[in-house]
Symmetry: C4
Subunit: 210 residues, 4 copies
């Protein structure tokens, strides 16, 4: 299968999962609409963190697949397991949105963290597979260049574990963990993987073609 | 990354967000189905206004990206922030659909207006970035031509602010604001940005190619 | 804009609207799961009719756009209005699924019929525009050939009006109307528009290329 | 119609159906969030089984269509009927997620099994049509090669029937049936159809092109 079709399906899943996050925004309770809107700040926080997370996962997913020219069956299976985690994200997002300020905060944020850890493992697996199988999949970078980026990329995994542990502390532990999840999304925004498609696209440079 | 992939992901998000608007149509309350259907007119109004708004945002989003041949990381981030606003639209749409005729009308419509203002800022940011970085991104129009369109494009932003202020007036203030949101969508339909792809496609002309 | 992008966005909307139909399947009430499943037959009927309807609308939408090589702004607006009807379909589908066997059957089915009539008008408008503006949009068939198909295509509109009127009769009037909606979907399946892409693809023929 | 467009629409439907599975994850009941999360294991099981099933159906759907160069009207109709089953999957998934541990387990799992049987019939129909009409659709493999794979492919159908019958046994009959559904997804992962696009993409081989 060409990379294009696997990417198109993955893009669709990312786009739908990111759009379903709006379902985590839902007023419930009593009082005026204004009061309910103001009290719903955990929903906005959870929405923003999850939106940035999925959005940046999408960018890095593209960067990974941009290194290969075709995909094989094992890569499709790893990709499917990865997407199984991405699709779940709206579920812990709703949990966090609803329980960040009540007794269930730790359980909600830990669930969120476990999903993120699972997805990080999926990304690590996808990337390691691409590095290992690079030449057979038509990778255009030398294996060494790819291998060098493993520490930086999988390093985020440890950060997700630590943030999840912080959620076990009493308030504002869970809220702090959610903010760290948001910062991790921003981290992955800047610390990204090598991509042939990114050559010449850094600010100040002129690209050589699409 | 080529413009194509960024567009495909954005198109997916626009298409899903516009389709999720149907979730704002939901009968609730008492009385016969016919009475409930007739009483649900704020839902239909909110649906139509939001549908036209997202649909025309999609067209203008395409027009903006049609000016560049590739996208860089900062543009992707601006685009992601813009989409974060677009995806939210079903939330204030449901608010307006449910509260346009009760005490919460002002709060609901102001929320709607704030989302529109945020999206307008995102569009302005995207457009200004394309204008500023045009040559490096392979823009095919001279920067001057692009720059001239900034006033007309960002002018809508001020209109959104004014309409939001109108929602603070007592009824029919909120309803009037919603109608203005609808008219703004129609405004953007006709007052659009320059696009190389639109050359020769105006009524009466014969296009030169796809 | 090339036809490809308008089709991709439209395809996305059709695909999402058809998939959201699953939301019309929802057990509610009392009794065992088995009894609820058996009592939910109006949901299955509504699902099948709406699924076939949207699916065949998608095919015919493709056939229409296959006749032109590019799209202009007015065509995009007509297309957007058409999609505004398609996206709504899950709403009357849920109404019919919930009320086909109670007092609200007529109101539910009439709502369904009105949406179908609106969509038929949208399709007629799209087709008439393509016929009228054919040469400027790069239509590959002579205008006469296109024009001949208007009666057959818009004839379904009258059938939708008649079926909607039948829903005003006492039971089984509403159920009969829903079955007619289903038969109309099958009708559009066989009585389709001319398409350059369909040449040579009829059973027994060998196609000349993709 | 070219295979590409039929695939793009089908891919969209698969991607949305797989993403809507997250709606089967929803806490309800009483007790702490932690207790609710632990008690929700049938939801996780149902989610994983359905996710793998749809994901692998997507892969095999691609493999089938990769054998033809274009599609005709009958193939589109068979494909639409197949998708009508795929889109339904979230409905029995939610049923199983909610009732696997109560009195409705058998009814829920049998519903799930019936949907799977219907989809299997759809896949068998699609594949048989492709085999029979292969040359006219530009199939690149000899008809004999395609025909040989019918037994293995449709064999899963019998397995689905058997698993559905097991759901009639008292507990843990229904749970066992769900696990068999999961194993069948894994079976289809390895036992796949011949595809021209897969040539040279097995582990250890070097592909010849995208």
């Amino acid at each position: 299968m060409s990379t294009g079709r696997a990417e198109a399906f993955s893009d669709g899943v990312f786009a739908i999962a990111i759009t379903l996050l709006v379902l985590s925004l839902k007023l419930s309770g009593t009082g005026s609409v204004k009061d309910q809107l103001l009290a719903a700040w955990p929903q906005y926080l959870a929405y923003v963190v999850s939106f940035l997370t999925i959005g940046i996962m999408w960018m890095n997913h593209h960067t990974i697949l941009a290194n290969v020219q075709r995909v094989d069956r094992p890569l499709l299976v790893i990709n499917l397991l990865l997407l199984m985690g991405v699709v779940v994200i709206p579920f812990p997002t709703i949990l966090v949105a609803q329980h960040l300020t009540d007794q269930g905060a730790t359980a909600a944020v830990v669930t969120y963290g476990l999903v993120m850890i699972a997805i990080s493992l999926g990304f690590a697996g996808l990337w390691i597979y691409v590095v290992t199988r690079g030449p057979a999949l038509g990778a255009t970078l030398p294996p060494e260049a790819l291998r060098q980026s493993i520490p930086g990329f999988t390093g985020g995994l440890i950060a997700y574990v630590l943030a999840t542990l912080i959620a076990f502390f009493p308030p504002p532990g869970p809220s702090a963990a959610v903010i760290i999840f948001g910062l991790l999304a921003v981290y992955y925004l800047f610390e990204h993987l090598p991509s042939p498609a990114d050559d010449g696209l850094r600010p100040g440079d002129v690209g050589t073609g699409p």
